[in-house]
Symmetry: C2
Subunit: 421 residues, 2 copies
Amino acid sequence: MTNDIMARREAVLGPNVPTFYKNPVHLIRGEGVWAWDAAGNKYLDCYNNVPHVGHCHPHVVAAIANQASILNTHTRYLHDGIINYAERLTAKFQPQLDQVIMVCSGSEANDIALRMAQAMTGKTGLISTDNTYHGNTMAVSQLSSRKPPIGGYAANIRHVPAPDTLRPVGGTADGQAQAFAREIQTKIDDLEASGHGFSGFLFCPTFANEGLPDLPKDFMLPAAKVIHAAGGILISDEVQPGFGRTGDTWWGHDWLGLSPDVVTLGKPMANGHPVAAVVAKSEVMAAFRNAFGYFNTFGGNPVSCAAAAATLDVIEQDNLIENAKEVGAEFLHSLYSINHTSIANIRGRGLFIALELETDGVADEALAAHVVEYARNNGMLMGRTGRKRNVLKLRPPMPFSASNAIVASDIMARAFKATKV
Amino acid sequence: MTNDIMARREAVLGPNVPTFYKNPVHLIRGEGVWAWDAAGNKYLDCYNNVPHVGHCHPHVVAAIANQASILNTHTRYLHDGIINYAERLTAKFQPQLDQVIMVCSGSEANDIALRMAQAMTGKTGLISTDNTYHGNTMAVSQLSSRKPPIGGYAANIRHVPAPDTLRPVGGTADGQAQAFAREIQTKIDDLEASGHGFSGFLFCPTFANEGLPDLPKDFMLPAAKVIHAAGGILISDEVQPGFGRTGDTWWGHDWLGLSPDVVTLGKPMANGHPVAAVVAKSEVMAAFRNAFGYFNTFGGNPVSCAAAAATLDVIEQDNLIENAKEVGAEFLHSLYSINHTSIANIRGRGLFIALELETDGVADEALAAHVVEYARNNGMLMGRTGRKRNVLKLRPPMPFSASNAIVASDIMARAFKATKV
């Protein structure tokens, strides 16, 4: 059946449409941290951050169903839903981050954020890291080194070396923060000399696509200093760390002690309903709103706002941020007990954990692939990331429990044991 | 209460967030072709094309609620929903338009379509009309003369004069098709001479944002000929005419007898759920898919596909395309009977109708605004469009009935009577 579905899929969706696993999983049902495939196999979901409060959470489903049956229009009519939600959302940010645009995807959010930087500075140059992904629009793909843009990079784009745990920028872990800031300063100078000027720096506060490096809390302070000193806009992409994923703060930038000018939100925001947003300082919002007549038909519609508000309800009522902190620590602890010479580093915060694999000092992509496939064949969904795709990535729905962590650690221990690599 | 909500809205959403009407409508409920505001006023909806099969259609609401309670993941897992829907959707197109990418908004769809043209041709130049809007991403806003991009237009963008009923391109209605094609040829030559080369032409088959001009069925054939002769990609933006709006064919390009290379879909596709798509020839899809590792987290998820499939169900089961044709003709007929010296032209197809207002040969924006405001204050939602905002736009949900048309025409007749303009 999977062969048939694969053939039909390629016929109607075209070539090169990504799937996970050698033998792709055909999911048909999800509930909490569990998912089931068409053959009746059950999987512990240790990968999916979109169903943030758990697959098909009944409170979110009910909110969507209820609002969809009452009204679903757009923001050129007044509606309480977007205002109530935007007030509630901005209250979770530093006071200066007090205004919101609601959109449909993290890509749309980052596409706006880049224009905010340009509208605010009157310049065009943009910087990100050299091993990242921030979205799929034509503009945002310019910053996404992992999915290079069609036709190559534009002249106003610069990339700096991504921070790394085992191979720090500048050569030493202690000096990495300063070295990273120096790299950014070099690119700012280059952009200013080129005539494009420097408008903004876009980054993920956990550097998730870069491999989730283990960084000290003050890591970004030198970088933020050079960015702001140059008059640039600091854009924090919270699509992955946001909504409490890391177990300590609502947003990754708060843990880092940063004051970004613009924050983008996406995937987990409404538990899978297509909702995303840009939160910004009022002067940055005004610069964008006055430079461009932005309207998004689906963005901030009553159903999207109901789904997003219900997701906030569950995070708060079920103490999911605290749960991420506690269970994440226990999960890390269990993982530390796995013995394998190729586990070069285990790191993480909250329910966002990485295991970096190296054999004889060389990134071991094959071993990482083996573990992911073994897990898939033994009832557990997980992924991998990092420059060499040798970093195992664990990022389960937030209601993940201590006993779920034991099950997952056990499957991973068996996966490592099952290899002679 | 509206004052309070407006103040809270501006505080948390920022300045310049568009609303309709001098006194914005605060909607709280919708059903079929009707909507209600917070004060209990009832409105006949003659504007909204997003609730295509009617506000809160129970079949679509049930499909969303049901699938949201079962599974909502992404396309890197296999799922029947997207395959079944994509097969069903492409069956409604000319045979060569046989592959689909599903996304969240018409903007995302057009952003992809532009890159398809570039990937297919290896060139970058793009052409649209000079009075249009195709979406809000940084790239798509380059083609949207009505919402000019931040920082101005890029060097690879060209605009041609939009077709017009009262002031045809080239001076005469008879010669407009050839004159329009000549304008496109001139811009193609210019792009080729500039070194950018010509990659594609993006247009709406009803030229809806241009004012819905009255054009003969063969209008676009000369333009399509020069575009294809130059090796360019013809992109039909069906966000407004698609899904049977015009009452004759599923897609505007079919009525025009065109064979586009790429078609984009949006607003009405899932009755308000954030769903959009790109349908393309397989060779164009392959060029894009091989040039860019495209993945859209929310695009084509099981709930989006269920909502889109349910919308197709209703269009088919309730014969809504035929209804649009019949009721649209009756609506036009009623509107013809309105007597006012400033009604310069009444035109339309299906449930997409325009009244162009001129006083003493000059576009009468004030009269158009008066009619729209009068309608709002007398229980009817409508809009306006056109280069001078002097074209009344009627575009109701598709289950609009003959008796609805009589109510609407009556309100409009009274609106015209109530003015001394």
